[in-house]
Amino acid sequence: MSSDAPSVTSAGDLGYLRDDAALKVRNLTVSFRRGQKIFNAVSDVSFDLARGETLGLVGESGSGKTTIGRAILQLVPAHGADLGGAITYEDDDLATLSRAQMRLMRRRMQMIFQDPVSSFNPRRKVVDIVGEGLEIQGMPRDERRRRVDQALADVGLSRAMVEGRRPYQFSGGQCQRLAIARALALGPDMIVCDEPVASLDVSVQAHVINLLQDIRAARNLALIFISHDLAVVRNVSDRVAVLYMGRMVEIGRADDIYRAPAHPYTRRLLDAIPVPDPARRIPAGEGGAEPHSQLAPPSGCRFRLRCPRADALCAEVEPQLRPMAQGQYAACHHPLPELGQGNSSRPAALSTPA
Amino acid sequence: QTPTSGGTMTIINGSDIRSWDPAITSGTFPGGPMDVLDAVYGFIVYVNDKGVVTGGMAESLTSEDAITWTLKLREGVKFSDGVAYDAEAVKYNWERVADPATAAPSQAFVAGWASGMEVVDPLTLKITLPAANANFAAQIAELAPFIASPEALKVAKEKSEIKPVGAGAFLLDAWDQDVSVSMKRNPDYWDQPRPYLDTLKFAIIPETNARIATVVQGGATMMAGYPYQFGSNADADGVATKQIPIRGINRAYFNHTKGVFSDVRAREAFYSAIDRGRLMQAFTQMEGFTPPVSYFGTSSQYYDPAYSLPSYDPAKAQELISALAADGKPFEVKIVTYTNSDLKRLAAYVQQVISSYEGASATIEEVDQANLIVRCKQQLEFDLCVEGGVLVSNGAEPNISNLLRSTGNFNWGQYNNPEMDAALSAAASTVDPTAVKAAFSDVQKLVVEDLPLYIFGEQTRYLLLRDNTGGVVNSNGGILQKQFLYVCDAPCVE
């Protein structure tokens, strides 16, 4: 597919794509060379993101979540990787930008990483790290200082608390707040959060999630929120995209998907969420097959080997995303029926503790 | 004990030979290349330990008038390829030495008389010299003693291709370059039942201490060296030392062609500047050396007490050095020596002492042992060239000519004084002892006046050997006549 006509695609078969979105990802394909073999980490993924919106990316390990996040920010390593498709931000095709333009663009798009500690250079002082982006953008010293103070304040820290310290002198939660401050300092309007709370304890996690949500609201930020914890994604996302082995298998409003997933894989993911509800003695499941090697994906639907509903069609034809009755889009030949019609054992509403 | 046949001996040498070319002869010190060549070729005549020229492969080399010399060969001697060791063969060999293309060290010496050779019969070669030379036989023993099968020599295109086909006591068995040379008994040796040994091996060990330890432990039969090197090892069980009764001098060459030592005052300054007894002490790390006063030892029949070398006198040395400096001849000495730690120490001592004089300095250049001769004799890139071993000087010839004559083989410093040549010729052209002594007296006078060489020590050579080594017969002041060696049942070294 040609990358210069994303609007055609969006207008055509994929109704979930909007022309007015800030970020447009069209037919993104990322492949890595592994020795002789080409390995598609992301295949033909299209989505978009409007200002102030949060998109949750879920999927199991290796499904390509991080790769998508990095590809958006043009951070996929140069050697051994091939990018296909187009990524535009506010009508700028990122691939065609010059270095200088891209550097300017980075003011607007930022990233937060999973491991707060390792996303800081252990040998540098945190104040410098938070101000680094501004320095790179060539901001004068005083202005820089002001912006750093502001960013620190936004995440509930102050210069006095961080001055002269290095990353290892902070706890995980504090580091993650500093990481957010680093991203915020540039004043971006979009942030890719790659599992920002995965390594944090529940109490700290809640804290960071709240913080992100508040900032998002205050600055009208667009977020891409990558996580494998569906509960967290539920909390933060307006829309959710489910990835399986580099392909997008379901995308739609979070409410729709969580209420009634259409793709059997999404269903499985939801079923696997540990729910703090002792009332429900969880029935021991039969245990599905393990994921297939991504180097040689199965023909047709990639999920079919683990799918209870798979049939001959699934083996032959790779399903494309199509609108579901529930409202979301799913790539499945035999999508799950809408809520109420199916025989899912899962109760619709989950009880809350007192 | 009477000699018995059988057995093996290993002689340790410091470095390996470079070819089997019989024309390559350089110094008859034990442990040198000639020691190895002797085993396969055998000396045609040799100078025995009393200084008398004795028949070796040949029966005799004699002359009535010191001009016409007759070489009598033995009957039935054959090279190992079956070719006869006859007058033609000898003539061929010597003519080959005389040919500049052979690049033999003694080319100049042999070329002087090579045209005078005449084969009288297969066992007789007559040599007519251009001038009388009483020392001719001794010089042959030193400079052109080895005769190889002419056939073998003709076949070889390169020196390195020459196969050792001789008529000596042993036959080459294997040569492992830089490791060892193994030889086995020549069953057709002319002097049966000699040689006694079944096998003779030369092993290469450059490190002096390792050499000594090897002999002490019985890993080898003998090595040549000096008592100062042996230390307490000479008293170890199973080993003995044997003195080779020669008087040898330690010497260094002054460069007469260029540099400060072309001025005789500088040579005198050098003599005065250094206490030679102490120099020897630094060299050997032993005490009790008295500096030699003359080319001849005090016990030599030619010694003339009227002449003696300058003795240690630092004040005089400084005076001379300053005078030289005033003449625009700074006393800068470049010492060339080879990489032997004793010699390094010696050179360092010289440097140390010289540098302590005002206006004097010294630098040291070390070269590989094999390259010393190239550096000094050929390239003349030195002021003072220090050679390691001692040179026989108790008998007058042939070394005195080699050292002091302008065309002398060992005259590395290119000392050239017609008076000296005349005096040496005078000594050589007569067999009258008083005339010889008178001539040598002149030589001594010139040595003391001209100071052609730096003569700094007197030593005799020693062997460190297993005490059951019999038949140790030295020739030419060093080299063993290997056909006599035999293994004793009990300690038998005197």
Binding site: - | R18, A101, W175, V179, I204, A213, T214, A370
Partner: protein
């Protein structure tokens, strides 16, 4: 799954390919080196009285007057035919000489390796099992001392003690093990010991830290939770995972041992390649120098191929990359 055999072969093949440029680089440099040399082989062969014309003639005959590239190609051609030229003086075929001399060095190097390993590995296991204990701290002190002894020091000291003072071991020489096995052992004892001083300490350190690291692994904790005994855990669980690292070091130590052979062989007059190359360098015996340089590279490549194969044997995870 691909068959194990083909994986090994592929790993070895990769190494081999990587070795070729190294080989070319080194051997070509060796050829070109002779252009820098002040004294020439011809000079050395012809001796002191040679004239310039003679030297030039011989140089022409040996081909030293031609450009280095041509000489190199010639040399490569000879190599293909198994002809590496002849030694300068004794006219031994270099290839044959090298085989003999290399065997000596190999014997010493391998014995030194063996001795060091036999000493180091068990001690390292004991030491790591009781990390921080008395044995451990004593051994680590001793080895850090041994590690600091250069070969030229251990050579001097050991030979002084064992051959000059005690006279237990021969000071010099070598005899083929096929001729006199016991004598051979006596002769190689000092060279092997001298090399082992450093080597065993080195192996000990590597092995100890590797064992200690392995003992930190989760699977060792699991084994302990299973109630297995310490010695069982050491031998069955910790030993093998620690070996790849030791193997790497073993491979790398080949270069060290070859370097050490210069000192050891020249001091003990052992006719190995170290000895040979020292003499060849002195004599400007270029064919020998060049052959030894290429041999060294070949040894290095072969050793690392072996190390790779060793990994594959030890570590079930290793696949050809």
């Amino acid at each position: 799954m691909r068959s194990a055999g083909s994986t090994y072969l592929r790993a070895a093949g990769t190494r081999l390919l990587a070795g070729i440029p190294v080989f070319v680089l080194v051997t070509f440099a060796a050829t070109a080196l002779s252009d820098l040399m002040p004294g020439s082989a011809a000079q050395t062969i012809l001796g002191e009285n040679a004239t310039l014309e003679q030297i030039a003639a011989l140089n022409a005959e040996y081909g030293y007057d031609r450009p280095a590239v041509i000489r190199y190609l010639d040399w490569l051609g000879g190599l293909a035919r198994g002809d590496l030229g002849y030694t300068l003086f004794s006219r031994q075929p270099v290839a044959e000489l090298l085989v003999n001399r290399a065997a000596v060095t190999f014997e010493i190097a391998l014995l030194a390796m063996l001795v060091s390993l036999l000493l180091a590995i068990p001690l390292a296991m004991v030491s790591a099992a009781r990390a921080g204990g008395l044995v451990d701290s004593t051994l680590s002190a001793v080895t850090s001392f041994l590690l600091s002894i250069p070969t030229f020091v251990s050579v001097v000291v050991l030979s002084y003690v064992f051959s000059i003072v005690l006279r237990w071991l021969p000071a010099t020489g070598w005899v083929s093990p096929f001729v006199d096995p016991l004598g051979n052992l006596m002769f190689v004892a000092l060279p092997v010991l001298s090399l082992s001083v450093h080597q065993s300490a080195y192996f000990f350190r590597v092995a100890r830290s590797q064992f200690a690291a392995t003992l930190q692994e989760d699977f060792v904790l699991v084994a302990r939770a299973k109630g297995l005994s310490t010695s069982y855990i050491m031998l069955r669980h910790a030993l093998r995972p620690s070996l790849p690292q030791v193997l790497t070091v073993l491979g790398l130590s080949m270069t060290f041992l070859l370097g050490g052979s210069f000192i050891v062989e020249s001091y003990f007059a052992v006719p190995g390649i170290g000895w040979t190359v020292l003499n060849a360098v002195k004599n400007h015996d270029l064919p020998v120098v060049q052959a030894i340089l290429s041999l060294t590279v070949v040894i290095f490549v072969v050793v690392f191929i072996l190390v790779d194969l060793g990994y594959a044997l030890i570590d079930p995870r290793v696949q050809a990359t």
